[in-house]
């Protein structure tokens, strides 16, 4: 159907069908990829994008369908088979070993290694590739020392090292800062210029428009539209995905602040490496107000959320919740003072993968009646709660008993949101709440945060997305190197000023 772009596709998937208990994850999905091009794969949470890619790299066996690489029919049984064919994938959740170095991770699992690989030789080749693609990483650094953005570069290097010609990137920008995303865009451009091709999954329309030549939209396992990027626009794509018009703007009532709910006075804290991460942070949030925290990732956002929720000790300063001293209290005491927390690391911290969706949803409320009485759980009531949450938050899951790790990335995030918003009784700390959500769900989450605010709760919203902060926050504080550079009312703030402050400039006082 798109014969004009290039004669033969480097990759073709035909009629791929994949069932899981209770769901049809892929339903006769087709896909074509041409050399030197980027294909964007779009679709709502749970549409089947990751599944289709997992079939391609041999992690899942399709029930039906065929795969052709360079015109040849192939059977792919494992990622190793895929690698032999030059196909490599960077997963939604990285798969690196934290206690090993970059170089060790890169050669880990390779089959054609000598018995004792020469690590200096490996490091030399890694440097060569990093230079060619501008992928700055130290081969001898340990993974745990790297930021998320750097870890992703390692994942990409790993593929290039193994000579991948077809790269699959599953929501690579979800965890990146806008700067890092731009950088990634350049790297992809560099690779396609060399004739490599990429499949790119994202929920961000700008990226689709910027990076790709072709777009495929999936819905409930089927491919429902194939478009040339140049011939479409974000509104049309959003409509194709969700099946209705999506509002990119939200209506917001005026803020009616109540009592101060959270107050930080001159708070300092260290990061995991023992270096200062917060330096004398002070601010307060009233009930009925959303305070946004802007800043480039790594400037103390994570530590800020953790000190407020009791997960990290402060080295100096005071934290007050509802006027009561809550400095260095245990996470349980903080929870009991009405604080909810949507954490940045949803898989590692937010859920227990091998437990049921229902159990995960109950993990905040299980301490009190009605879910527990005299220490005895009421499974039936847990199930009822879960059913209600699954419906209100439109969590796509085969059943409440499904282990949550089998849900799609976005639906896991929705389950966390459901639990935390439902349990919230005063302060909601939301860290990148719309990360990994499709446009419809993003809109829904923002509306929920506004609902919380209108119900008189205080919301601390940490986000990298300035657009998001400007639409829903009432005031925006900018964090730079652990300091608050200034706090602006959202309706007078503009992206330029915020950008300057994020780079370290102080609020201009006129």
């Amino acid at each position: 159907m798109n014969a004009e772009s290039s004669p033969t596709p480097i990759l073709e998937m035909r009629g791929i069908t994949k069932h899981f208990p209770g769901v049809m994850a892929n339903d006769h999905a087709d896909l074509e990829l041409y050399p030197g091009e980027v294909l964007a794969l779009l679709g709502e949470n749970g549409a089947g994008k990751s599944t289709l890619m997992n079939v391609l790299v041999g992690l899942y066996r399709p029930d039906e369908g065929e795969i052709y690489v360079r015109g040849q029919r192939v059977e792919i049984h494992s990622p190793r088979d895929a690698a032999t064919l030059g196909i490599g994938m960077v997963h939604q959740n990285f798969m690196l070993v934290p206690t090993m170095t970059v170089a060790e991770n890169i050669i880990l699992g390779m089959t054609d290694l000598p018995f004792a690989p020469r690590m200096d030789e490996v490091a030399r080749r890694i440097r060569e590739i990093s230079q060619r693609y501008n992928l700055e990483v130290d081969p001898n650094a340990y993974i745990w020392q790297l930021s998320v953005g750097e870890q992703q570069r390692v994942e990409i290097l790993k593929l290039l090292y193994r000579g991948a010609e077809i790269l699959i990137l599953d929501e690579p920008t979800a965890v990146l800062t806008p700067q890092e995303s731009h950088e990634l865009g350049r790297i992809i451009k560099r690779m396609t210029d060399e004739g490599k091709s990429a499949i790119f999954i994202t929920h961000k329309m700008e990226e689709v428009m910027e990076f790709s030549q072709w777009v495929r939209v999936m819905q409930a396992g089927k491919v429902v539209a194939v478009k040339k990027t140049a011939e479409t626009n974000p509104q049309e794509l959003a409509r194709l995905m969700v099946g209705r018009e999506v509002l990119f703007r939200l209506e917001k009532d005026a803020c009616t602040p109540g009592d101060v709910i959270l107050e930080l006075r001159d708070v300092s804290a260290d990061n995991d490496k023992g270096l200062p991460a917060l330096r004398g942070v002070s601010f307060s949030i009233h009930g009925g107000e959303i305070l946004g925290i802007a800043g480039v990732a790594g400037n103390g956002q994570r530590e800020l959320a953790e000190v407020v929720t009791g997960l990290r000790k402060v080295t100096q300063g005071k934290i007050l919740i509802n006027g009561q001293e809550r400095t260095n209290k245990s996470p349980l005491e903080i929870i009991q003072s009405g604080v909810s927390h949507i954490p940045a690391d949803r898989i590692g911290m937010g859920v227990v993968g091998d437990m049921a969706v229902a159990d995960n949803i109950a993990m905040k409320g299980y301490r009190q009646p009605p879910l527990t009485e005299h220490g005895i759980l009421h499974p039936r009531r847990i199930l009822e709660l879960a059913r209600r949450m699954i419906e209100t938050f439109r969590i796509a899951t085969p059943s409440p008993q499904t282990h949550i790790k089998f849900l799609s990335g976005g639906n896991i995030q929705k389950a966390i949101l459901a639990r935390e918003i439902d349990a919230c009784a005063g302060l909601l700390v939301a860290v990148y709440p719309s990360r990994g959500l499709d446009v419809g769900a993003t809109e829904a989450v923002r509306r929920r945060l506004l609902e919380q605010r209108d119900a008189g709760r205080a919301v601390l919203l940490i986000s990298e997305d300035l657009e998001e902060l400007l639409t829903i926050a009432d005031r925006i504080a900018v964090l730079f190197e652990g300091r608050v550079m200034g706090i602006l009312p959202a309706d007078t703030a503009d992206i330029e000023t915020l950008g300057l402050m994020m780079a370290g400039a102080h609020e201009s006082k006129e």
């Binding site: 899981f20 208990p21 992690l59 899942y60 066996r61 690489v69 360079r70 040849q72 029919r73 192939v74 059977e75 792919i76 049984h77 494992s78 088979d81 895929a82 032999t84 064919l85 030059g86 010609e165 929720t309 009791g310 997960l311 245990s330 996470p331 349980l332 903080i334 929870i335 009991q336 927390h341 954490p343 690391d345 590692g348 911290m349 937010g350 859920v351 227990v352 993968g353 091998d354 437990m355 159990d359 993990m363 905040k364 299980y366 301490r367 527990t372 220490g375 005895i376 759980l377 499974p379 089998f406």
Partner: protein, 360 residues
Amino acid sequence: MRIVFEKRESVSRRATVLVPVVSFVVSLIFGAILLAVSGANPFVTYAAMVKGAVGSWYGITETLVKAIPLMLTGLAVSIAFRMRFWNIGAEGQLTLGGVAAAGVALYWSQGLPGWTVLPLAILAGIVAGALWAGIPAVLKAYLKVDETLTTLMLNYVAILYSEHLYYIAWRAPGYNSGTAKFPETAWLPQIAGRANVGLIFAIILAILLWLVFKYTRWGFELKIIGENQTAARYLGINIARNIVLALLLSGALSGLAGACEVLGLSRRLQQGLSVGYGYTAIIVAWMAQLNPIVILFVAILMAALLVGGDQIQMKMRLPASVGLVLQGMILIPMLAGTIFTEYRIRIVRPEKHAQPEVTS
């Protein structure tokens, strides 16, 4: 044609049942080879084993005798393992439980009303086992000291201490080793052959544990801690306290096992209290996939193996070591088999397009 190892997309229920069964059959085949090599007829030997273990009332009750401590220690380590706390100290906890029970039976029983002696002796065993497990638990929970080492080392301490007692400090006059027989008020009744009331304790405890893990808030918290500690901390669960509590319970069950051994079987403290039940318990718990009810049955199976092994030593005149090697031989495939609940083997035939071609 080539063979590929594929990760299963989900753990299949059929595999979790089938794998142990198939592994057991493979184990028997391996054992048979070993027997043939050492010059014994495998069929005759196996027949003798089965007959020895379950072929007579005596055999059945002897199997139960060994199953009791395996059940209790199996349940004990399963609690710790659920929290990924590698308690390999059940042996020491059992020994110390036996020592404490013996101490009460021997030295405290005089001044007390008769009916209190037995409960007190059992209680002493429980408490001793709990404390002995509590030490490594506290070290781990509050100081991050690796538990595999501490629990193992404490085994030696407990075992050597018990030896000191029955060889020297508590030795009955006129004997080379062993204490005097306990007064009858301290005897745990035997219910079938030499199998004692501990069997009933084990069954009740298994059911209780199953209920606790499934239906209580505490069980829910333990499960979360075992699955994902970062999430547990984030959810406000007190990890350190729960580790200590769970380990106290784990040690208590092992201590109870020790108490039942001395009060219900030997009725004196003597050599033979520590014969490795605490280690076999690890295998029992693992094979049962930590399910308390399944542990009861696996413990009986293991006990039958032990009794059967002893029988062939006596009846077939095989060297004692063959019986032990045979037991080990039977375990290895059963443990290795668990990998197939997560992976499966596929044989790929080279059809015209079945193999990925190697690109240049």
